[in-house]
């Protein structure tokens, strides 16, 4: 297991360097001169140009620039936003809890609904519940989630007026946010109605963001279960006279979870891509909306830094999932 962890950590390093290379070359790949782009339509004097070039180090060899960039990244220096003039690093971490809160809620929604449903479906294989679940999952999987969000808004915010359309909490509430998680901070503030407002703001984004992972988990777990149910050791379990519920719930599910963990790994990217759309639609002040806004504002240091941090985030989550994979797979754990 230790070897597995270390070997996995070692692959992290080249991937990390590659990701920094991609985000570094992002500015280089922009059509036109980055300083001219920075200056915008106002134009720029030659002295100012040279000054800026020296300031940003654009006059030095490309390798030196990359080295500076890399060491800067490792020290938490991702540059300063053109628009807000705040360090990208600070902006990222002030917005990150909002995305994290939403993503965790969506994942919990997907797993808590998906796994039990699949086990029940596997027991009743081919019967109505199984078919209904799988059809629903396929529809969910095919859903353009930006449209799904609009539909939910029409019904729940427009017609029924149950849920707010945007933001994380009602405008009337104001309290300090030490954790950045609105659910926790609203409870801690002790203000009446704050928590329920936070919850109501969270419901629709959670459903929208959780839909695809839910569909993916349901479909993948079911096909993993079907595959596992055909294995020799399931026949052995049946030959022991075990009840179907025990065979499905313990012998099969335990094995089926091993491939499902890797599915979760692949859906991290999907989740973040979904966050971009969900946050934009619900004006959720998180990383996704920040990135889209920055792309529109041509705030390149933010786009560059955000791109890097999102990629590193995906890598870290994948690393954690891989460790988890090693833990639940005895063939790796006990080698």
């Amino acid at each position: 297991m230790l070897n597995y962890v270390l070997a996995r950590l070692l692959t992290f390093i080249p991937t990390f360097i590659g990701v920094t290379l991609v985000s570094f070359s992002f500015i280089r790949a922009l059509p036109g001169d980055p300083i001219l782009v920075m200056a915008g339509e106002r134009g720029i004097s030659e002295e100012r140009y040279a000054e800026l070039a020296a300031q940003y180090g654009y006059d030095r060899p490309i390798l030196v620039q990359y080295w500076d960039y890399l060491t800067g990244v490792l020290h938490g220096d991702l540059g300063v936003s053109f628009v807000t003039k705040r360090p990208v690093w600070d902006e990222f971490f002030s917005l990150f809890p909002a995305t994290l809160e939403l993503s965790i809620c969506a994942m919990v929604f997907a797993v808590a609904l998906g796994l039990p449903a699949v086990v029940i479906a596997a027991v009743n294989r081919g019967k109505f519940f199984d078919r209904a679940l799988m059809s629903t999952a396929l529809v969910g999987y095919s859903m353009p989630i930006f449209w799904w969000a609009l539909l939910l808004i029409i019904v729940f915010s427009g017609n029924l007026q149950w849920t707010p359309v945007s933001g994380r909490i009602g405008l009337q509430y104001y309290f300090p946010d030490p954790t950045g998680f609105m659910l926790i901070d609203s409870l801690a503030s002790g203000q009446k109605g704050a928590f329920s407002s936070a919850v109501r703001h969270l419901i629709l984004p959670t459903i929208v963001l959780g839909t695809i992972p839910l569909a993916v988990i349901a479909r993948q777990t079911r096909s993993a279960m079907l595959e596992v149910l055909g294995e020799d050791y399931i026949r052995t379990a049946r030959a022991k006279g075990l009840a179907p519920a025990r065979i499905n719930g313990i012998h099969a599910l335990r094995n089926a979870l091993i491939p499902v963990v890797t599915v979760i790994e692949l859906s991290v990217g999907t989740l973040l891509a979904g966050a971009i759309l969900t946050e934009t639609i619900f004006s959720w002040p998180g990383i996704g909306k920040w990135m889209v806004d920055s792309i529109f504002r041509r705030d390149y240091p933010v786009v560059q830094g955000g791109l890097l941090l999102v990629a590193v985030l995906v890598m870290v989550v994948n690393l954690i999932v891989d460790m988890l994979y090693g833990l639940i797979n005895p063939k790796i754990r006990k080698r």
Binding site: P31, L151, I154, G158
Partner: protein, 299 residues
């Protein structure tokens, strides 16, 4: 050789194609998906003949008309009109052309590149393989939509750039899949036989191994087809894909977003069109997987 020559002929088994069709047909959803998909393809091909109006023609006198069956509707605009008075149905019909174009182009670009890189990776020495796989890891670290957004930001928003960006983001899936299939096939005896017979590397790659790796690639292609449609629509929705007045479904949604509480049809129909198309392709993809994946076959 008296007693070795006489062997009764092989039992007649159903042909591979017949068997494929049997398994495909057994999945009722897949057959429905196939019918819907075929209908959509026909619509896309003959959009110019079916569409009642020019998709970009604006009728200032008839903006935000509801669908014909609702009060205030007009049968010349069956599904109603958008805020600029353009016929929704015609725009949807023309939009299907773009949708299929996008799907096909993305799948072609991503799979062609992915298959070749995957084949190389599966046959190359370990260090080349490692470099390729790490590179794919790097691309996979960026969420496809974000990567596409950023690439489009660099290249400028357009449908073509969106397709290229999405194809790049999908490529690693084809690389990984092809490589895994190649590695599984490469250790089989028939490949070693070909080597013993003297087959060189190109022959081994393209004639011996590749045809046996096609099944999972086809399934992945179907998946990528539907995902590409979703992602291009999402880019359009974010304003980074096809630009107005192109009748692209995602772009149409974005244009009419502000009217969602006033005119449900301008939002509902483009989204429904995306959902139905994607659903039909995914249903077919499931059928393909069932029919091509021997692991799930029961005999």
């Amino acid at each position: 050789m008296a007693d070795t020559t006489q062997i009764s002929s092989a039992p007649t088994r159903p042909s591979a194609l017949r068997e494929f069709w049997y398994y495909f047909r057994e999945n009722r959803g897949a057959v429905i998906g196939l019918y819907v998909f075929s209908a959509l393809v026909l619509i896309a091909v003959f959009a110019g003949l079916i569409a009642p109006h020019d998709p970009t023609a604006q009728n200032r006198a008839a903006t935000l008309l509801p669908p014909a069956w609702q009060e205030g509707g007009n049968w010349s605009y069956i599904l109603g009109t958008d805020p600029l008075g353009r016929d929704l149905l015609s725009r949807l019909l023309y939009g299907s052309q773009l949708t299929f174009l996008v799907g096909i182009m993305v799948v072609l670009l991503a799979s062609a590149g992915g298959i070749i890189i995957g084949l190389i990776s599966g046959f190359a020495p370990k260090w080349v393989d490692t470099i390729i796989m790490r590179t794919m890891d790097i691309i996979l670290s960026f969420p496809a939509l974000l990567l596409a957004l950023v690439l489009v930001a660099i290249l400028g928003p357009s449908l073509i750039n969106a397709m290229i960006a999405i194809a790049i983001a999908y490529q690693p899936h084809f690389v990984r899949l092809t490589r895994a299939a190649v590695l599984a096939e490469r250790s089989k005896d028939y490949v070693i036989s070909a080597r013993v017979a003297g087959a060189g590397l190109p022959r081994l790659m393209f004639i011996t191994v590749l045809p046996n790796c096609i099944a999972p690639i086809i399934v992945q292609a179907a998946l990528s087809f539907s995902n590409a449609i979703l992602d291009v629509a999402a880019l359009g929705f974010l304003g980074m894909g096809a630009q107005p007045p192109t009748p692209e479904w995602g772009t149409m949604l974005a244009e009419s977003r502000e009217f969602i509480l006033r005119a449900w049809w301008v939002v509902t129909f483009p989204g429904l069109a995306i959902l139905i198309t994607v659903l039909a392709i995914n249903l077919m993809g499931d059928g393909l997987r069932d029919a091509l994946d021997p692991k799930l076959k029961r005999s």
